[in-house]
Symmetry: C2
């Protein structure tokens, strides 16, 4: 069964009821947290004009954009004019540019929906996956940075991921670091990319790469890596960074974020990590990553990116934001809800001429909010219908036979205990509402 033509396209997934319900529950929990923070939802189209996206993600990113062929008479040209959304940030920049004063100031928005990247599909890597972003556009306040970090960690708490650590640094602190160790400006970017590997490679390997791949003076490399990996790295950096203006500015913004966010997050879950770099070079202020024990990579990340909205075609406004690695988080959660009742009530139909009456009972149960199904196959055999009710994991099953009908009663079978009894038909909805109440 299931030959290739019936599978979803490479890198995409079909979500059947169980998996989809888990996803929707997680999305709803996250959405509720963002709403409590006053973030507003934004939904943009699945595709944008091609020119809106190209040139925004670097050469490598551009290659991963799904492009849509022109239609009608233009189809034969092989030209493309639209492209699938690659992230949530470029559409945000377009919206901020286009709607201007229609938006609140600052504009605090969240976006949760699919993005598409033509990456090589692999374990846990998809071509269609959900991104989940919060951003504050139009505020340079450290409170905005703290709101973003706390909204993301509150969302993690809400979905039940509580063993995490928020690593905080600042682009200005990193500039101060380069200055303090006398690293030439043209080497700075490469040095930072290598330093970012300190969480994966040994200090010796990082030092070697700094010298070999980044042309850094061996003495400087040794001192820098030694200081960053020392037990008192934070204190050493605080001393070193105080010597430059940019370093002091970096320490200051890190300090403000920690002061505002620590009471919420807890001192054991947030810390200044001087070697945190974050790959993307558009960050201008604080940067952060959230990591969890036993998980590779980060489960949330972000920072301040004051120049990005204008670089993406929007107005020149300060902004900060972050992403929740929602696919990774869902992957962590056990999808085991095997014991749960899929429906509250299964109605059997053992006599054709009672169909209309049974539909009436069913309608009343649905009216009181009970998830109710009626048997739709042709068999009128009770045994077969009870098997169906068990497969549907019904909490209760209804049986309406001739004896029931003559007495104005209906038989209710408790599928957990196997017990059954008769209930007056006009009391059925009230009876089952009470019975189902605790389990729902």
């Amino acid at each position: 069964m299931a030959p290739r033509q019936f599978e979803p396209p490479s890198g995409t997934r079909d979500f059947l009821a169980g998996a989809l319900r888990t996803r929707e529950r997680v999305f709803a929990q996250i959405r509720e947290v963002f709403e409590r923070y006053g973030f507003e939802p934004l939904q943009t189209p699945a595709f944008e004009r091609l020119e809106t996206l190209t040139g925004k993600y670097g050469d490598e990113g551009d290659k991963l954009i799904f492009k849509i062929l022109r239609r009608g008479e233009h189809e034969a040209t092989g030209e493309t004019d639209l492209a699938l959304r690659y992230d949530m940030t470029v559409p945000l920049a377009r919206v901020v540019a286009g709607y201007g004063s229609q938006l609140p100031t600052p504009y605090k928005r969240y976006a949760m929906g699919p993005v598409w990247r033509a990456d090589r599909p692999g374990k846990g890597r998809f071509r269609e996956f959900t991104q989940c972003d919060v951003d504050v556009v139009g505020s340079g306040s450290p409170l905005a940075d703290a709101e973003v970090v706390c909204a993301l960690t509150d969302a993690l708490d809400a979905v039940g991921v509580r063993e995490y650590r928020v690593l905080v640094n600042s682009r200005q602190a990193l500039s101060g670091l380069l200055e303090a160790y006398g690293i030439p400006a043209d080497l700075g970017g490469g040095v930072l990319i290598t330093l970012d590997k300190l969480d994966k490679l040994t200090p010796e390997k990082v030092s070697a790469e700094l010298v070999e791949a980044r042309s850094l003076d061996p003495d400087i490399a040794t001192a820098l890596v030694g200081d960053l990996t020392a037990a008192d790295a934070v204190e050493r950096m605080q001393t070193v960074l105080k010597d430059s203006e940019v370093g002091r500015a970096g320490l200051d913004e890190i300090g403000q974020l920690l002061e505002l966010a620590t009471p919420r997050i807890g001192a054991e879950r947030i810390a200044f990590v001087p070697s945190l770099v974050r790959g993307l070079d558009y960050y201008t202020g604080v940067i952060f990553e959230v990591v969890a024990e036993g998980m590779p990579g980060s489960i949330a990340s972000g920072g301040r990116y004051d120049g990005l909205i204008s670089a993406l075609g929007g107005p020149d406004v300060p902004a900060c934001g972050g992403s929740l690695g929602v696919e990774r988080i869902i992957g962590l959660l056990s999808a085991d809800d095997g014991d749960e009742h899929l429906i509250d009530v299964a109605a059997t139909l053992i006599a054709e001429d009672t169909a209309s009456e049974v539909m009436g009972f069913v309608a009343r149960l649905r009216d009181v909010g009970l998830r109710t199904e009626v048997y739709l196959a042709a068999s009128r055999k009770l045994a077969k219908q009870l098997k169906w009710a068990a497969e549907r994991k019904a909490r209760f099953t209804l049986i309406y036979g001739a004896a029931d009908k003559n007495a104005g009663l209906i038989t209710v079978r408790d599928m957990d205990t196997g017990e059954q009894g008769q209930v007056p038909t006009n009391e059925l909805a009230a009876y089952l509402t009470e019975k189902c109440a605790p389990s729902r």
Copy 2:
């Protein structure tokens, strides 16, 4: 402002918070009804392999499919290999074929999500729009037809659209009609397409089109249109259809649907309409359309299509289903929630050194579920911050000045009445929870 490059692509829309919340509320109401009926959600990818879609929608439909260019080394060929989802039915057929016994029998599923069609955008016509389908795959029972119709009308009731009429007919009844009036098989399809216009054109115009465009004998055309538009059309058709086997089968399936669905829907809202045709030729049994006063076209429609799943590449199983015109319904609803509070509490920040404390108050309010925002701009002037709180339509505003702080109090301003008073900071969450309870 808003030059073209900042608009969403032609035929698509950005949904800002207000419109999006209205949509999400409607989707949630509909979803809840479908779940009560025991329909399971299914979500398939935004795109399918091109060959899954082509040839399934007729020549006209094929032209409206958005095709995705191949990537990497294949990009220059101009070839396409993927295409955006055009409807929910072809993906359903693929899933039924691919997952087989993993799915319940019958498989009752709903799907609600965007589809994409390269239609000419126009008033109320979009290239990206939400489709909302319920289908029962694997049951030939009239109960299944009734479940589909009632799930859709219950959903209409749930979203507040109650003035509608369900028009019912049957493909078999239409075949019996053609037979009864001696209409040759090769003319049948065209005749039905013209008859479908009886709700828009005068009987004379329909008769003329039957003769001119469909080559129907003028006497037959006059008799047919006369009978279908007579005050007692239903009785005339019941008599006429009894003469053929297919006509009797049609009357029988219409009768069963009416018997099962009328108690739920109400006799005044559902009727046999012998001239109802429905354009799509894949229907094999009962067909229905839901119309509402003052609305062009239908707000829901569907029917039984026993051969379609196999024609679309799935197994040969009976099936029926229907669609809710959810975009049309949302268009009907007044988007006016202008008086509603966007947030519960706006926290001002008038002294820099209280930022951390104010963040603490805000965190506690969010913990009790209150939608709370803190002022993120640079000004420390109260007047400016109160203006912001009013723009955010906050229910209450917090002010924490030096006098408040010294007394262990915080000032709470009721934004509806303008009244303000002081509350002990440790009682703030309880106080505001109670105050906000009735309005939420």
